[in-house]
Symmetry: C2
Subunit: 218 residues, 2 copies
Protein backbone atom coordinates (compact mmCIF):
# COMPACT_ATOMS: atom_id res chain seq x y z
CA UNK A 1 0.00 0.00 0.00
CA UNK A 2 1.35 3.40 -0.91
CA UNK A 3 0.42 6.68 0.66
CA UNK A 4 0.06 9.62 -1.67
CA UNK A 5 0.83 13.07 -0.33
CA UNK A 6 -0.27 15.76 -2.77
CA UNK A 7 2.23 18.56 -3.39
CA UNK A 8 -0.19 21.17 -2.06
CA UNK A 9 -0.49 19.27 1.22
CA UNK A 10 3.30 19.21 1.57
CA UNK A 11 3.52 22.95 0.92
CA UNK A 12 0.83 23.63 3.51
CA UNK A 13 2.45 21.44 6.10
CA UNK A 14 5.80 23.23 5.55
CA UNK A 15 3.93 26.52 5.94
CA UNK A 16 2.36 25.30 9.20
CA UNK A 17 5.77 24.41 10.63
CA UNK A 18 7.17 27.87 9.85
CA UNK A 19 4.00 29.43 11.27
CA UNK A 20 4.60 27.56 14.53
CA UNK A 21 8.16 28.91 14.60
CA UNK A 22 6.84 32.44 14.00
CA UNK A 23 4.47 32.03 16.94
CA UNK A 24 7.31 30.89 19.18
CA UNK A 25 9.33 33.98 18.23
CA UNK A 26 6.36 36.27 18.91
CA UNK A 27 5.63 34.60 22.25
CA UNK A 28 9.30 34.77 23.19
CA UNK A 29 9.37 38.50 22.52
CA UNK A 30 6.06 39.08 24.31
CA UNK A 31 4.42 40.51 21.19
CA UNK A 32 0.72 39.80 20.72
CA UNK A 33 -0.09 39.51 17.04
CA UNK A 34 -3.06 39.80 14.70
CA UNK A 35 -3.49 38.85 11.04
CA UNK A 36 -5.86 41.37 9.38
CA UNK A 37 -7.63 39.93 6.34
CA UNK A 38 -10.26 41.62 4.16
CA UNK A 39 -11.42 42.55 0.68
CA UNK A 40 -9.58 45.43 -0.95
CA UNK A 41 -10.91 48.63 0.54
CA UNK A 42 -12.74 47.17 3.55
CA UNK A 43 -10.63 49.30 5.88
CA UNK A 44 -7.67 47.24 7.10
CA UNK A 45 -5.28 50.19 7.09
CA UNK A 46 -7.87 52.54 8.55
CA UNK A 47 -8.32 50.13 11.46
CA UNK A 48 -4.53 49.96 11.89
CA UNK A 49 -4.44 53.78 12.04
CA UNK A 50 -7.29 53.94 14.58
CA UNK A 51 -5.71 51.18 16.68
CA UNK A 52 -2.24 52.75 16.73
CA UNK A 53 -3.66 56.16 17.60
CA UNK A 54 -5.91 54.87 20.38
CA UNK A 55 -3.20 52.68 21.95
CA UNK A 56 -0.61 55.49 21.99
CA UNK A 57 0.99 55.63 25.45
CA UNK A 58 -0.53 52.23 26.37
CA UNK A 59 0.98 49.79 23.88
CA UNK A 60 3.70 49.98 21.25
CA UNK A 61 2.39 48.83 17.89
CA UNK A 62 4.31 47.27 15.03
CA UNK A 63 2.87 46.67 11.59
CA UNK A 64 3.83 44.38 8.75
CA UNK A 65 2.04 45.21 5.56
CA UNK A 66 1.60 42.83 2.65
CA UNK A 67 0.73 44.36 -0.67
CA UNK A 68 1.16 43.56 -4.31
CA UNK A 69 2.71 46.95 -4.96
CA UNK A 70 3.46 50.28 -3.27
CA UNK A 71 4.19 51.03 0.38
CA UNK A 72 1.19 53.33 0.82
CA UNK A 73 -0.28 51.35 3.73
CA UNK A 74 2.99 50.99 5.63
CA UNK A 75 3.44 54.76 5.30
CA UNK A 76 -0.03 55.37 6.72
CA UNK A 77 0.78 53.09 9.67
CA UNK A 78 4.11 54.85 10.23
CA UNK A 79 2.44 58.24 10.12
CA UNK A 80 0.04 57.01 12.81
CA UNK A 81 3.04 56.03 14.96
CA UNK A 82 3.71 52.35 14.28
CA UNK A 83 7.02 50.68 13.49
CA UNK A 84 6.24 49.35 10.01
CA UNK A 85 7.74 46.90 7.53
CA UNK A 86 6.49 46.56 3.97
CA UNK A 87 6.34 43.22 2.14
CA UNK A 88 5.67 43.64 -1.56
CA UNK A 89 4.46 40.26 -2.75
CA UNK A 90 5.08 41.20 -6.38
CA UNK A 91 1.79 39.73 -7.51
CA UNK A 92 1.23 37.01 -4.93
CA UNK A 93 -2.32 37.01 -3.68
CA UNK A 94 -1.66 36.24 -0.01
CA UNK A 95 1.01 36.28 2.68
CA UNK A 96 2.48 33.02 3.91
CA UNK A 97 4.49 32.05 6.98
CA UNK A 98 7.83 32.37 5.15
CA UNK A 99 7.10 35.97 4.18
CA UNK A 100 6.15 36.77 7.76
CA UNK A 101 9.27 35.04 9.04
CA UNK A 102 11.49 37.30 6.89
CA UNK A 103 9.60 40.40 7.95
CA UNK A 104 9.87 39.51 11.66
CA UNK A 105 13.65 39.72 11.31
CA UNK A 106 13.37 43.37 10.37
CA UNK A 107 11.53 44.49 13.51
CA UNK A 108 12.81 44.72 17.07
CA UNK A 109 10.01 42.64 18.56
CA UNK A 110 11.11 43.27 22.14
CA UNK A 111 9.97 46.87 21.61
CA UNK A 112 6.57 45.88 20.29
CA UNK A 113 3.50 44.96 22.38
CA UNK A 114 1.11 44.47 19.48
CA UNK A 115 2.08 43.38 15.98
CA UNK A 116 -0.55 43.79 13.28
CA UNK A 117 0.05 41.91 10.05
CA UNK A 118 -2.01 43.40 7.23
CA UNK A 119 -2.56 40.69 4.64
CA UNK A 120 -3.11 41.24 0.90
CA UNK A 121 -6.63 42.49 0.12
CA UNK A 122 -8.32 39.26 -0.87
CA UNK A 123 -11.22 37.25 0.64
CA UNK A 124 -10.06 33.91 -0.71
CA UNK A 125 -6.39 32.98 -0.80
CA UNK A 126 -5.19 34.36 2.59
CA UNK A 127 -7.66 32.03 4.37
CA UNK A 128 -5.59 29.01 3.34
CA UNK A 129 -2.28 30.15 4.87
CA UNK A 130 -1.74 30.44 8.60
CA UNK A 131 1.03 32.87 9.51
CA UNK A 132 1.59 32.08 13.18
CA UNK A 133 -0.19 35.14 14.56
CA UNK A 134 -2.26 34.79 17.74
CA UNK A 135 -5.57 35.64 16.10
CA UNK A 136 -6.99 35.89 12.60
CA UNK A 137 -9.18 38.95 12.15
CA UNK A 138 -11.57 39.42 9.23
CA UNK A 139 -12.67 42.95 8.42
CA UNK A 140 -15.97 43.02 6.55
CA UNK A 141 -17.49 46.31 5.44
CA UNK A 142 -21.09 47.35 5.04
CA UNK A 143 -20.95 48.48 1.37
CA UNK A 144 -19.67 45.01 0.33
CA UNK A 145 -23.16 43.63 0.94
CA UNK A 146 -24.66 41.17 3.40
CA UNK A 147 -24.22 38.06 1.24
CA UNK A 148 -20.46 37.79 1.70
CA UNK A 149 -20.43 35.08 4.43
CA UNK A 150 -22.48 32.85 2.12
CA UNK A 151 -20.22 33.49 -0.87
CA UNK A 152 -16.82 33.37 0.86
CA UNK A 153 -17.40 30.73 3.55
CA UNK A 154 -13.75 29.66 3.82
CA UNK A 155 -12.52 32.91 5.30
CA UNK A 156 -15.58 33.48 7.51
CA UNK A 157 -15.24 29.97 8.91
CA UNK A 158 -11.59 30.30 9.86
CA UNK A 159 -11.35 33.58 11.73
CA UNK A 160 -11.22 34.32 15.46
CA UNK A 161 -12.53 37.88 15.27
CA UNK A 162 -14.94 39.60 12.89
CA UNK A 163 -15.00 43.37 12.43
CA UNK A 164 -17.97 44.92 10.64
CA UNK A 165 -16.56 48.24 9.44
CA UNK A 166 -18.19 51.31 7.83
CA UNK A 167 -21.39 51.11 9.88
CA UNK A 168 -21.71 54.87 9.26
CA UNK A 169 -22.82 53.90 5.73
CA UNK A 170 -25.77 51.76 6.92
CA UNK A 171 -28.31 54.51 6.09
CA UNK A 172 -27.03 54.80 2.51
CA UNK A 173 -26.63 51.21 1.30
CA UNK A 174 -28.88 48.17 1.36
CA UNK A 175 -27.32 45.90 4.00
CA UNK A 176 -29.44 43.34 5.84
CA UNK A 177 -27.56 42.93 9.13
CA UNK A 178 -29.74 40.01 10.27
CA UNK A 179 -29.07 38.08 7.05
CA UNK A 180 -25.35 38.80 7.36
CA UNK A 181 -25.21 37.67 11.01
CA UNK A 182 -27.22 34.53 10.23
CA UNK A 183 -24.62 33.55 7.62
CA UNK A 184 -21.77 34.23 10.05
CA UNK A 185 -23.47 32.23 12.82
CA UNK A 186 -23.79 29.14 10.60
CA UNK A 187 -20.09 29.21 9.67
CA UNK A 188 -18.53 30.47 12.85
CA UNK A 189 -20.89 30.31 15.83
CA UNK A 190 -20.22 32.84 18.55
CA UNK A 191 -17.26 34.47 16.79
CA UNK A 192 -16.06 37.58 18.63
CA UNK A 193 -17.61 40.46 16.64
CA UNK A 194 -17.19 44.24 16.66
CA UNK A 195 -19.36 46.58 14.58
CA UNK A 196 -17.64 49.93 14.14
CA UNK A 197 -16.74 52.83 11.90
CA UNK A 198 -13.10 53.78 11.48
CA UNK A 199 -14.32 57.03 9.96
CA UNK A 200 -16.57 58.28 12.78
CA UNK A 201 -14.95 56.31 15.61
CA UNK A 202 -18.25 54.68 16.60
CA UNK A 203 -17.69 51.27 18.19
CA UNK A 204 -13.89 51.62 18.37
CA UNK A 205 -13.89 51.70 22.20
CA UNK A 206 -15.14 48.12 22.52
CA UNK A 207 -12.47 46.93 20.05
CA UNK A 208 -9.68 48.72 21.92
CA UNK A 209 -10.90 47.44 25.31
CA UNK A 210 -10.91 43.85 24.07
CA UNK A 211 -7.53 44.28 22.38
CA UNK A 212 -5.96 45.77 25.51
CA UNK A 213 -7.03 42.67 27.46
CA UNK A 214 -5.62 40.40 24.76
CA UNK A 215 -2.25 42.18 24.69
CA UNK A 216 -1.94 41.61 28.45
CA UNK A 217 -2.20 37.83 27.93
CA UNK A 218 1.14 37.48 26.12
CA UNK B 1 22.45 26.11 -24.10
CA UNK B 2 19.19 24.89 -22.65
CA UNK B 3 15.92 26.71 -22.61
CA UNK B 4 13.90 26.52 -19.42
CA UNK B 5 10.16 26.74 -19.62
CA UNK B 6 8.69 27.21 -16.16
CA UNK B 7 5.62 25.13 -15.32
CA UNK B 8 3.53 28.24 -14.76
CA UNK B 9 4.34 29.47 -18.25
CA UNK B 10 3.20 26.15 -19.72
CA UNK B 11 -0.05 26.29 -17.78
CA UNK B 12 -0.67 29.85 -18.97
CA UNK B 13 0.05 29.00 -22.58
CA UNK B 14 -2.39 26.04 -22.40
CA UNK B 15 -4.94 28.44 -20.91
CA UNK B 16 -4.35 30.90 -23.76
CA UNK B 17 -4.99 28.20 -26.37
CA UNK B 18 -8.28 27.21 -24.77
CA UNK B 19 -9.22 30.89 -24.45
CA UNK B 20 -8.67 31.29 -28.21
CA UNK B 21 -10.95 28.30 -28.80
CA UNK B 22 -13.59 29.85 -26.53
CA UNK B 23 -13.41 33.07 -28.54
CA UNK B 24 -13.87 31.17 -31.80
CA UNK B 25 -16.99 29.46 -30.38
CA UNK B 26 -18.41 32.81 -29.22
CA UNK B 27 -17.67 34.47 -32.56
CA UNK B 28 -19.18 31.52 -34.42
CA UNK B 29 -22.39 31.82 -32.40
CA UNK B 30 -22.49 35.61 -32.78
CA UNK B 31 -22.35 36.14 -29.01
CA UNK B 32 -20.50 39.21 -27.76
CA UNK B 33 -18.89 38.48 -24.40
CA UNK B 34 -17.59 40.34 -21.35
CA UNK B 35 -15.51 39.17 -18.39
CA UNK B 36 -16.62 41.10 -15.26
CA UNK B 37 -13.88 41.31 -12.63
CA UNK B 38 -13.99 43.13 -9.28
CA UNK B 39 -13.45 43.02 -5.55
CA UNK B 40 -16.11 41.20 -3.57
CA UNK B 41 -19.10 43.50 -3.26
CA UNK B 42 -18.14 46.09 -5.90
CA UNK B 43 -21.39 45.42 -7.73
CA UNK B 44 -20.74 42.85 -10.48
CA UNK B 45 -24.11 41.15 -10.05
CA UNK B 46 -25.93 44.47 -9.66
CA UNK B 47 -24.46 45.59 -12.99
CA UNK B 48 -25.54 42.29 -14.57
CA UNK B 49 -29.09 42.89 -13.27
CA UNK B 50 -29.16 46.48 -14.58
CA UNK B 51 -27.75 45.40 -17.93
CA UNK B 52 -30.19 42.51 -18.42
CA UNK B 53 -33.14 44.70 -17.44
CA UNK B 54 -32.15 47.60 -19.70
CA UNK B 55 -31.42 45.38 -22.71
CA UNK B 56 -34.73 43.50 -22.45
CA UNK B 57 -36.36 43.39 -25.89
CA UNK B 58 -33.12 44.56 -27.56
CA UNK B 59 -30.59 41.84 -26.77
CA UNK B 60 -30.78 38.39 -25.20
CA UNK B 61 -28.35 38.10 -22.33
CA UNK B 62 -26.65 34.99 -20.99
CA UNK B 63 -24.63 34.89 -17.78
CA UNK B 64 -21.98 32.56 -16.47
CA UNK B 65 -21.26 33.09 -12.82
CA UNK B 66 -18.12 31.97 -11.07
CA UNK B 67 -18.25 31.74 -7.31
CA UNK B 68 -16.55 29.83 -4.56
CA UNK B 69 -19.89 28.72 -3.15
CA UNK B 70 -23.66 29.24 -3.58
CA UNK B 71 -25.64 30.10 -6.71
CA UNK B 72 -26.98 33.39 -5.31
CA UNK B 73 -25.62 35.49 -8.17
CA UNK B 74 -26.81 33.21 -10.96
CA UNK B 75 -30.28 33.29 -9.37
CA UNK B 76 -30.24 37.10 -9.34
CA UNK B 77 -29.28 37.12 -13.03
CA UNK B 78 -32.03 34.60 -13.85
CA UNK B 79 -34.59 36.63 -11.93
CA UNK B 80 -33.58 39.64 -14.05
CA UNK B 81 -34.21 37.58 -17.20
CA UNK B 82 -30.85 36.10 -18.20
CA UNK B 83 -30.07 32.52 -19.15
CA UNK B 84 -27.60 31.66 -16.39
CA UNK B 85 -25.07 28.95 -15.61
CA UNK B 86 -23.31 28.66 -12.26
CA UNK B 87 -19.68 27.55 -11.88
CA UNK B 88 -18.75 26.79 -8.28
CA UNK B 89 -14.98 26.87 -8.19
CA UNK B 90 -14.92 25.08 -4.83
CA UNK B 91 -12.30 27.40 -3.43
CA UNK B 92 -10.42 28.45 -6.55
CA UNK B 93 -9.77 32.16 -6.58
CA UNK B 94 -10.37 32.83 -10.29
CA UNK B 95 -11.98 31.45 -13.42
CA UNK B 96 -9.82 30.04 -16.19
CA UNK B 97 -10.46 29.24 -19.85
CA UNK B 98 -11.16 25.55 -19.12
CA UNK B 99 -13.93 26.44 -16.67
CA UNK B 100 -15.45 28.82 -19.22
CA UNK B 101 -15.17 26.17 -21.93
CA UNK B 102 -17.23 23.71 -19.84
CA UNK B 103 -19.82 26.34 -19.01
CA UNK B 104 -20.19 27.37 -22.68
CA UNK B 105 -21.38 23.83 -23.42
CA UNK B 106 -24.33 24.34 -21.13
CA UNK B 107 -25.75 27.40 -22.90
CA UNK B 108 -27.42 27.64 -26.31
CA UNK B 109 -25.14 30.42 -27.56
CA UNK B 110 -27.10 30.90 -30.78
CA UNK B 111 -29.89 32.32 -28.59
CA UNK B 112 -27.60 34.75 -26.80
CA UNK B 113 -26.49 38.18 -28.06
CA UNK B 114 -24.48 39.15 -25.00
CA UNK B 115 -22.72 36.75 -22.65
CA UNK B 116 -21.53 38.17 -19.33
CA UNK B 117 -19.03 36.07 -17.41
CA UNK B 118 -18.92 37.11 -13.77
CA UNK B 119 -15.54 36.15 -12.37
CA UNK B 120 -14.76 35.32 -8.73
CA UNK B 121 -14.65 38.43 -6.51
CA UNK B 122 -10.90 39.08 -6.38
CA UNK B 123 -8.69 41.94 -7.60
CA UNK B 124 -5.58 39.82 -8.05
CA UNK B 125 -5.79 36.29 -9.43
CA UNK B 126 -8.40 36.73 -12.21
CA UNK B 127 -6.10 39.27 -13.92
CA UNK B 128 -3.66 36.48 -14.82
CA UNK B 129 -6.12 34.27 -16.70
CA UNK B 130 -7.65 35.25 -20.02
CA UNK B 131 -10.94 33.48 -20.72
CA UNK B 132 -11.49 34.25 -24.40
CA UNK B 133 -14.15 36.91 -23.88
CA UNK B 134 -14.18 39.95 -26.17
CA UNK B 135 -13.51 42.47 -23.42
CA UNK B 136 -12.26 42.45 -19.85
CA UNK B 137 -14.27 44.78 -17.62
CA UNK B 138 -13.12 45.92 -14.17
CA UNK B 139 -15.77 47.19 -11.78
CA UNK B 140 -14.31 49.49 -9.14
CA UNK B 141 -16.53 50.98 -6.46
CA UNK B 142 -16.30 54.28 -4.63
CA UNK B 143 -16.26 52.91 -1.02
CA UNK B 144 -13.17 50.79 -1.83
CA UNK B 145 -11.10 53.98 -1.86
CA UNK B 146 -9.14 55.87 -4.50
CA UNK B 147 -5.81 54.11 -3.92
CA UNK B 148 -6.79 50.82 -5.56
CA UNK B 149 -5.16 51.40 -8.99
CA UNK B 150 -1.85 52.01 -7.22
CA UNK B 151 -2.20 48.91 -5.04
CA UNK B 152 -3.59 46.46 -7.62
CA UNK B 153 -1.82 47.59 -10.80
CA UNK B 154 -2.03 44.19 -12.54
CA UNK B 155 -5.76 44.19 -12.96
CA UNK B 156 -6.03 47.91 -13.76
CA UNK B 157 -3.36 47.57 -16.43
CA UNK B 158 -5.02 44.67 -18.23
CA UNK B 159 -8.62 45.70 -18.67
CA UNK B 160 -10.46 47.15 -21.68
CA UNK B 161 -13.25 48.84 -19.75
CA UNK B 162 -13.41 50.41 -16.29
CA UNK B 163 -16.68 50.92 -14.43
CA UNK B 164 -16.67 53.19 -11.38
CA UNK B 165 -19.74 51.99 -9.48
CA UNK B 166 -21.58 53.36 -6.42
CA UNK B 167 -21.07 57.03 -7.32
CA UNK B 168 -24.21 57.71 -5.23
CA UNK B 169 -21.94 57.20 -2.19
CA UNK B 170 -19.50 59.98 -3.17
CA UNK B 171 -21.00 62.44 -0.65
CA UNK B 172 -20.57 59.95 2.22
CA UNK B 173 -17.06 58.53 1.78
CA UNK B 174 -13.65 60.09 1.24
CA UNK B 175 -12.85 59.30 -2.42
CA UNK B 176 -10.45 61.51 -4.37
CA UNK B 177 -11.62 60.99 -7.96
CA UNK B 178 -8.67 62.91 -9.43
CA UNK B 179 -6.14 60.76 -7.55
CA UNK B 180 -7.99 57.62 -8.65
CA UNK B 181 -8.09 58.70 -12.31
CA UNK B 182 -4.43 59.70 -12.26
CA UNK B 183 -3.51 56.17 -11.13
CA UNK B 184 -5.67 54.63 -13.84
CA UNK B 185 -4.19 56.91 -16.51
CA UNK B 186 -0.63 55.84 -15.65
CA UNK B 187 -1.49 52.15 -15.93
CA UNK B 188 -4.05 52.14 -18.70
CA UNK B 189 -4.10 55.41 -20.65
CA UNK B 190 -7.42 56.25 -22.27
CA UNK B 191 -9.22 53.16 -20.98
CA UNK B 192 -12.96 53.30 -21.75
CA UNK B 193 -14.53 54.42 -18.44
CA UNK B 194 -18.09 54.67 -17.14
CA UNK B 195 -18.96 56.23 -13.78
CA UNK B 196 -22.37 55.05 -12.63
CA UNK B 197 -24.59 53.86 -9.82
CA UNK B 198 -26.40 50.55 -10.18
CA UNK B 199 -28.54 51.61 -7.24
CA UNK B 200 -29.85 54.94 -8.56
CA UNK B 201 -29.41 54.23 -12.27
CA UNK B 202 -27.24 57.34 -12.77
CA UNK B 203 -24.78 56.87 -15.64
CA UNK B 204 -26.26 53.55 -16.80
CA UNK B 205 -27.48 55.01 -20.12
CA UNK B 206 -23.96 55.68 -21.39
CA UNK B 207 -22.91 52.12 -20.51
CA UNK B 208 -25.92 50.60 -22.27
CA UNK B 209 -25.43 52.80 -25.37
CA UNK B 210 -21.78 51.73 -25.65
CA UNK B 211 -22.64 48.08 -25.02
CA UNK B 212 -25.39 48.10 -27.66
CA UNK B 213 -22.87 49.32 -30.23
CA UNK B 214 -20.41 46.62 -29.16
CA UNK B 215 -22.97 43.83 -29.42
CA UNK B 216 -23.66 44.88 -33.01
CA UNK B 217 -20.00 44.31 -33.93
CA UNK B 218 -20.13 40.51 -33.49
Amino acid sequence: MTTQIPVLEKIHSANDRIAAANRAILDGAGAYSLNFMASPGAGKTSLVEQTVTRLKGHARVGMINGDIATSLDAERAQNAGAAAVQINTGGDCHLDAVMLSSALNELDLTRIDLLIVENVGNLICPANWVLGTHKNVLIASVPEGADKPYKYPGIYRGVDVLIINKIDLLPYVPFDMEYFKRGVEILNPGVQTFALSCRTGEGIDAWIDWLTEQIATV
